[in-house]
């Protein structure tokens, strides 16, 4: 068993971070659906119950939850070129995502619990109007191909 307490803080922290990153990837189900492009302040990816600080370049998978703190913001680009930007105090579940780059067909469902979100839809909405949806506690947004913004008030 690895005794991290016997190591100096630097290496111990690095090893712990590496283990957390490995465990996070191991919990991912299915192919990568998006990549983190921008991060500001407190932003985490929750995967299989594990919270990992988001970094530029990180892979994002179906069923991941994106969460930002009071000073946080994060930007993602999906494989269909949809761009999603979440502002402070946001929580968004990437519940469903599939995209076939050979024919541009696919579907996307994001569950937005709270916060602010702007999206520029990509190939899914372009090829299949209505196949991209954002669900909030009060309504479902069907996207026909556009840029839009959503704010959901709530508390964690």
């Amino acid at each position: 068993m690895l005794m991290l307490s016997h190591l100096r803080p630097g290496p111990a922290a690095a090893i712990a971070a590496a283990i957390a990153a490995f465990a996070s990837v191991a919990l991912a189900a299915g192919p990568q659906i998006a990549q983190v492009k921008t991060v500001t302040g407190d932003a985490v990816i929750i995967r299989g119950g594990a919270r990992v600080g988001a970094r530029v370049g990180d892979a994002v998978y179906e069923k991941d939850t994106i969460q930002t703190g009071a000073d946080g913001a994060i930007g993602l680009t999906f494989t269909d070129n949809t761009v999603m930007s979440a502002g402070p105090n946001s929580e968004i579940d990437l519940s469903e995502y599939r995209f076939d780059s050979s024919n541009f067909n696919g579907a996307m469902l994001a569950d937005m619990r709270q916060g602010t979100l702007t999206m520029v839809s990509g190939d899914i909405a372009r090829s299949s109007p209505g196949a991209m949806k954002v669900r909030t506690p009060a309504a479902i947004v069907g996207v026909r191909g556009t840029r839009f913004a959503i704010q959901v008030q709530g508390s964690r």
Partner: protein
């Protein structure tokens, strides 16, 4: 800058409607045109297809 400006617009609009649980706004493309979104809930559906249309 555009996402930041969009979030700012959203926060300004939200300030005009403090009782709302959610706010949806269509943003214009670079050429000034806009696509469309459909907001469905409570047995009603609202189509927003103009720049800065909100529901």
């Amino acid at each position: 800058m555009r996402p930041l400006a969009a979030l700012l617009v959203l926060m300004m609009l939200a300030g005009c409607s403090s009782q709302r649980q959610a706010l949806f706004v269509v943003l214009p493309k670079a050429d000034g045109s806009a696509g469309a979104i459909t907001v469905s809930g409570g047995g009603q559906a609202l189509v927003l297809n103009q720049p800065y249309a909100a529901g």
